[in-house]
Symmetry: C2
Amino acid sequence: MEEDQKSPGRSGFFMDKHQKWMHQALVLAEKGRGNTSPNPMVGAVLVNDNQIVGEGYHQKFGGPHAEVWAIEQAGGLAKGSTLYVSLEPCSHIGKTPPCAQKIIDAGIKEVYISMIDPNPLVNGSGVRMLQDAGINVTTGLLESEARQINRGFINSIEKKRPWITLKMAQTADGYIADITGKSQWISSSDARDFVMQQRTIHDAIMVGMGTVFKDDPGLLPVDRGGFIPYRVILDDMLKIPPRLKLVSDECRHRTVILTASDDKNAKIKQLTGTGVNVIHVPGDSFGWIDLQKTMEKLVEFGITSIYSEGGSQVAGSLIQHDLVDEIQLIIAPKVLGEGISTFSGFMKSLDSAIQLKWDDVQMLGQDLLIRGRLA
Amino acid sequence: MEEDQKSPGRSGFFMDKHQKWMHQALVLAEKGRGNTSPNPMVGAVLVNDNQIVGEGYHQKFGGPHAEVWAIEQAGGLAKGSTLYVSLEPCSHIGKTPPCAQKIIDAGIKEVYISMIDPNPLVNGSGVRMLQDAGINVTTGLLESEARQINRGFINSIEKKRPWITLKMAQTADGYIADITGKSQWISSSDARDFVMQQRTIHDAIMVGMGTVFKDDPGLLPVDRGGFIPYRVILDDMLKIPPRLKLVSDECRHRTVILTASDDKNAKIKQLTGTGVNVIHVPGDSFGWIDLQKTMEKLVEFGITSIYSEGGSQVAGSLIQHDLVDEIQLIIAPKVLGEGISTFSGFMKSLDSAIQLKWDDVQMLGQDLLIRGRLA
């Protein structure tokens, strides 16, 4: 029996060797961020005699899976080794052959898996295929970390919509702008740095036309050489002026307009002709797009996580329709007395209030960041 | 040289022996809470040969000072001892003879003082009197703790008004009630327990007529056998119906009405006849009372700290007029969409917003408590 070697993990807790190898698989998985959606980020590490003999990650949508890279890198050393993989190996023939079979063929003797693949085509059958071949399988290792990384992928399967983080920056008295509509800047530069970082871990940033008209935002990350999130615009009536940044800058191919408009094909043609993505969504009799359908369309497009930076209208629509997975409430130490409310479009009595749950709170410079979710 | 004996203090830090004795003096000072205003709470400990030989505290307004009790208790053991006192001993003849002289006469050889008395009649002259008599004096020991206990007394001298803590319980979107005015209960029972505890460490609770009409509150502590804070009502036009709890319950002698009304003497007579306190404050041409004047009158009455539990009107008036020392913002995990705003009566642009500073945040059951102050 060998001793478990303990070392401090990224959360400060001490990890045993299995956690350590799985942690490495999760670090590898992260490398695929921005390129794998709507498929998951997956990392794999092959260990033989306490040495890493192969590593891999799912690099891009439709490309080889993490396990394949690791097994190829290991070559003959894969035989008798232990695999650490952040998602259950697939058992079906999809865009690539089943990984479970490749693992069996390579002679791997033991497999550690973070989380079962929620995809109904897999969902446990990968584990069974490995076990039927006599491989020792352990699941659930660092599962919550794996679920966090792939929260968009999980949502797209379980809820048929992307993971949606709703960010709001408001004053102590609950206003996102003063009465003239001015909102730059309610929050501090530290809070804005946090927002910039959040943009890099979501497939897309979303705003409504209120924000587009008011601010003509660019919504681009500081580092334009890295991952550029999609910029999703809810533009029910297709009113966006073609000169605005989101549809005219050099990243306009990363802009996605959702609209109920179908009688203005000239404008759609004009926009798509310059590289902008326009998606038609059914509208109601007032011409407003159906939000649940919008979200399904975004998953089809390949967007599985959204950072909502819209104003009252978008925030109100999302929370009313139960389309929020995480709430980020930034509370600036300011008081306006009157202003633009955080949510618009609905009104609840105290007894029927929308219930949240606070998960965490931290200082962001002079502001507070409260994280929560719908209860 | 003797070793300092270190022991863990109430904040978890390790105290040396001087801090330990001064801590004991502060614990004694607290015993006077509710009975000394507008004078300070003061505690004193006399130590001789590492043993406490005398203790005392300022028990009630106009009564003997803390040092006097301690010296009397020590008797002959006061000679050569060390005094720990939470406020500079007085040097003037006020309601009692000067304590500094008593200390000199008792043959005390060394004096530790938490804070200098901000009262212009003392303000350093007590220290000088002791030093002139050859006594070794050290000031500033646990000063911030002493200032915290006597924040009302300090405010009453430095700002000519009570310490004012403004409490607001609001939803995540900044409403203190739903659109029908219903506010019971926005916050959880843990938050309400916190509020009950806060009521016991302020001389008075304050509300406006909006809250009185809407809720007919009692504003009494759970333990009615202990300290009952005053219940201050801002009733500009003296509209309070005599049947309401605050002016008819068994604690109505602890109710103070501030009003600009002077042409309804019959009602004032009726109220004061049942034991209610009514204070006239000058009003403006609309009949609204002057808030700064109101606060001066409250200090004269003997109230040096106020816990404001009023609604939008009172909160708006206080914050607009820079009459807030601590803000307690309780944020419930609820969303209403529309409702009654936290503040009313003013409207700021983002550039002229009232600036706060967040000091601390903690969970109160399912709610968040944010403490801050005006920047």
